[in-house]
């Protein structure tokens, strides 16, 4: 296998902070090279330098033995380096084919040749066996399909080296295995793949070689066949992982009671259809389901972000149906939202200010209309410590935190409210295995203290590890309930696909 890409002694400095320090990697043609490491280890930074989005402070990039330096992404693209961003760089109103060819559009007589664009996209999709429908409008495609469009776009641009930054974080288990298959196909076609992920079993499944980063430095470079997930974890975190603490028998009074809730736009199919369930004190209720089956809407209904058309929602015996977010939060709810950038944080503001959101009205932190920042800083410092949030200071712009560290900040903020009820949507999205352990432990402790948690996650393993009871949603309805004892991955998957727990398939009229 010839070496196609070499990065030598890459260093990236932000002010006093070294995000990358003397990092070297080599990737051959047809190789899948995984890069793993804790949140803030510098994985994204390394890839951004390769893609020309960030200028290296020092270091050398060699393509096929020749030194190169990229002035910007377009330069990198011309040299055959493509990147699939974690937050997709796509155009929602354009068709799939248009999204694939943009920037390198086929022309005829000076006009955009859409027929050729369509044909090219179809041919490319067939060649690499990546299923998409070229005529569909992108905004109406599933997340998994949008990601396939991203990959095809990069291939269309002629990439030989393809960077995938946490591509599986937003996918369903089914889509994940399809993506891994696609990655193998691409490698067999001679492409070099750089894959960043926190899921070590995925790494073991597809990678040929693995580089481990910690604190901006390489702590290990191994071939996949010579290592195991456990060893990788040790290299990443520098210690063995611990078992979750015991669950005490806890279940108490009902805390959140959702009764016959329906959410429906006029004349459309309801997105929530007569949903009823309860969350008790001292209980974690997990909601499983393929994303887009009403989980987001359910959380929005409970937290007051969207209105419901019928049914009632009671929290601590108070009717909170269609009340304001502020009132519901005051009644006793905290919410880890599913999209950390959209609902969870103000990227342009500081870490401290993001931490303060939702606390600014509490008597402890405000006097009259003036916010008492001093007290608050102690609290934020404690969170940063407990969840090991890597930030240069509390005054850093939140948008400069690595994805996983921002997630941890939001988790810390919402858990810090110590409300009786916590809505936790994808609480560990994008965090490393060490942080995942910390967050799981914190959720469990909260439960053991007698609080209730409604957990929504696309990770079945997370649902199974934490939940006392599991509800499965399908097309806006709850189609099954399983106790902790009876739940297995197979049973849940069956229900998620719309089948009944007993094996018969339900008509999806």
């Amino acid at each position: 296998m010839s070496v196609r890409l070499e990065m030598k002694n890459m260093t990236k400095r932000y002010g006093q902070f070294l995000a990358n320090e003397g990092v070297s990697i080599a990737v051959g043609a047809g190789e899948v090279h995984a890069i793993v490491g804790e949140n803030g280890a510098g994985k994204t930074t390394l890839m951004r330098m390769l893609y020309g989005m960030e200028e290296p402070t020092s270091g050398e990039i060699l393509l096929d033995g020749k030194p190169v330096s990229f002035r910007g992404p377009d330069d990198a693209i011309r040299h055959g380096v493509g990147m699939v961003h974690q937050h997709f760089m796509l155009f929602p109103d354009f068709t799939v084919a248009e999204n694939i060819v943009i920037g390198y559009e086929p022309k005829r007589g000076g006009f955009f040749d859409r027929a050729k664009a369509m044909a090219d996209a179809t041919a490319l999709a067939e060649r690499y066996r990546i299923p998409v429908s070229p005529t569909a409008v992108l905004g109406e495609c599933s997340i998994g399909e949008q990601q396939r469009v991203e990959i095809l776009k990069v291939l269309y641009q002629g990439a030989e080296i393809i960077i995938l930054d946490e591509p599986t974080a937003v996918l369903t288990p089914m889509e994940v295995s399809e993506l891994l298959a696609t990655i193998r196909t691409l490698a067999e076609a001679g492409k070099s793949i750089l894959l960043i992920t926190h899921k070590l079993q995925e790494v073991m499944e597809v990678a040929d070689r693995i580089t481990v980063l910690r604190g901006g430095k390489v702590t290990g470079a191994v071939a996949a066949k010579d290592t195991s997930a456990e060893e990788l974890a040790r290299l990443m975190v520098g210690r063995d992982l611990e078992q979750l603490s015991e669950r005490t028998e806890q279940r108490g009074e009902p805390l959140l009671v959702v009764h016959q809730v329906t959410m429906q736009e006029k004349k459309k199919k309801p997105v929530l259809d007569q949903v009823s369930f309860a969350v008790h004190h001292g209980e974690i209720v997990g909601i499983a389901g393929v994303s887009g089956n009403g989980q987001s809407e359910l959380l929005q209904a409970i937290s007051g972000l969207a209105a419901v058309q019928s049914g009632t929602i009671r929290l601590k015996d108070t009717d909170v149906t269609n009340r304001t977010v502020a009132l519901i939060r005051e009644t006793g709810l905290a919410h880890i939202p599913e999209d950390r950038y959209f609902w969870g944080a103000a990227k342009e503001e500081t870490v401290a200010e993001n931490a303060l959101m939702g606390y600014h009205r509490l008597p402890a932190f405000s006097r009259g209309i003036i916010i008492q920042r001093k007290w608050f800083h102690h609290l934020v410092a404690a969170w940063i410590e407990r969840f090991a949030i890597k930030t240069s200071s509390a005054h850093e712009k939140a948008g400069n935190l690595s994805g996983g560290n921002l997630q941890k900040l939001i988790v810390a903020r919402e858990m810090g409210r110590e409300t009786p009820l916590l809505l936790a949507a994808e609480p560990t999205r994008g965090v490393d295995i060490g942080a995942m352990e910390t967050i799981h432990q914190a959720l469990l402790e909260k439960r053991n203290k007698g609080d209730g948690i409604l957990l929504v996650s696309s990770e079945l393993s997370e649902i199974l590890a934490l939940s006392d009871r599991i509800l499965v949603m399908f097309e806006g309805r709850i189609v099954g309930e399983l106790s902790r004892a009876e739940a297995t991955e197979e049973k849940i998957s069956m229900l998620m696909a719309g089948g009944r727990g007993d094996g018969s398939t339900q008509a999806t009229a």
Partner: protein, 306 residues
């Protein structure tokens, strides 16, 4: 009351619609690259003034139109420099542009022509009324569609050309991409700055012609502030038409009709202050039906992160 709706009303609608249509098409170009341009009013005013200046000093209508387009293009580049280059808030810049346009034309009116309020020269020729050969002879339709200033036909042609530009050309495709998701456009190496300047310049030219139609097409004179809110009406027409050239054509026709009716109603001994309100009342009513600012997509991701 019914006799206000006759063929001459339609014909006057077509005349009234032209400045609104041209400016709204220009506004849509800015919206398509993600810039909400509230400075259309100022652009139109500058165009109207430049057209009169050109006409007065050269005596040529063609040169007058050319000057109107060129001067407004320069004016729009000022807007572009502040919003694109200096990244100033586009609303604030737009408002400033409107005041600058008003102040500048008032000042130059005095400096160049030595008059206050309005400039009128009875020897000055307005835009000719084109009698389109075949069209003119069609009964009923003929008098409606024929006999307008060339800019009237230009404005309808502009709508069609802009449609082809947006939906058939590569550059138009990229222009739309910039407004939909600027971060993504940058990430694939599109030159967003150049595309934004391109859209703003075209907007300037269209608004310049809109102004020329006001000062040389409908009347042959310049009065202070003669844009009279048409830039803002154009903005609403653009939003109502969702920045789609044909949508804008339809909504502009609606506003043009209101303009025409309001003038017609003055002949019915209704107070002019009242009739002149009509287009603006419609504007406010239209606002109720607008969900976004007609800036393309509401699905566009507003945030992007790492």
């Amino acid at each position: 009351m019914l006799d206000i709706f006759d063929s001459s009303l339609v014909s006057s609608t077509i005349r009234m619609v032209t400045p609104i249509l041209l400016a709204a098409l220009g506004g849509s170009l800015c919206a398509r690259v993600g810039i909400f341009n509230v400075g259309l009013e100022g652009f139109i005013l500058v165009g109207a003034f430049a057209a009169i200046v050109g006409n007065h000093f050269t005596g040529s209508l063609w040169l007058a139109l050319l000057l109107a387009a060129f001067v407004t293009l320069l004016f729009s580049l000022l807007f572009g420099y502040m919003t694109v280059h200096l990244r100033a808030n586009e609303i604030v810049v737009g408002v400033a542009i409107n005041f600058l346009g008003l102040g500048l034309t008032t000042f130059l009116l005095r400096a160049i022509f030595g008059v206050k309020g309005a400039f009128y020269d009875k020897d000055m020729q307005g835009l000719p009324q084109l009698q389109i050969p075949v069209l003119h002879d069609i009964p009923l339709l003929g008098p409606i569609l024929s006999g307008h200033s060339p800019l009237v036909y230009v404005s309808f042609a502009a709508a069609i050309l802009l449609y082809l530009f947006y939906y058939r050309s590569v550059t138009g495709f990229r222009v739309r991409a910039v407004g939909m998701n600027a971060t993504a456009a940058k990430s694939i190496g599109l030159n967003t700055v150049r595309l934004q300047y391109l859209a703003i310049s075209l907007c300037g030219i269209l608004c310049g012609l809109a102004g020329a139609q006001l000062s040389l097409g409908q009347v042959t004179m310049f009065t202070e502030g003669m844009a009279a809110g048409r830039g803002f009406i154009a903005l609403v027409a653009m939003m109502l038409g969702q920045s789609h050239p044909f949508g804008i054509l339809a909504s502009s026709l609606l506003f043009g009709l209101m303009d025409a009716i309001s003038i017609r109603l003055q002949g019915f001994s209704l107070p002019t202050q009242f009739t002149a309100m009509l287009p603006y009342i419609l504007t406010i009513a239209a606002m109720f039906f607008l969900k976004d600012r007609g800036m393309g997509s509401n699905r566009a991701s507003q945030q992007s992160g790492r």
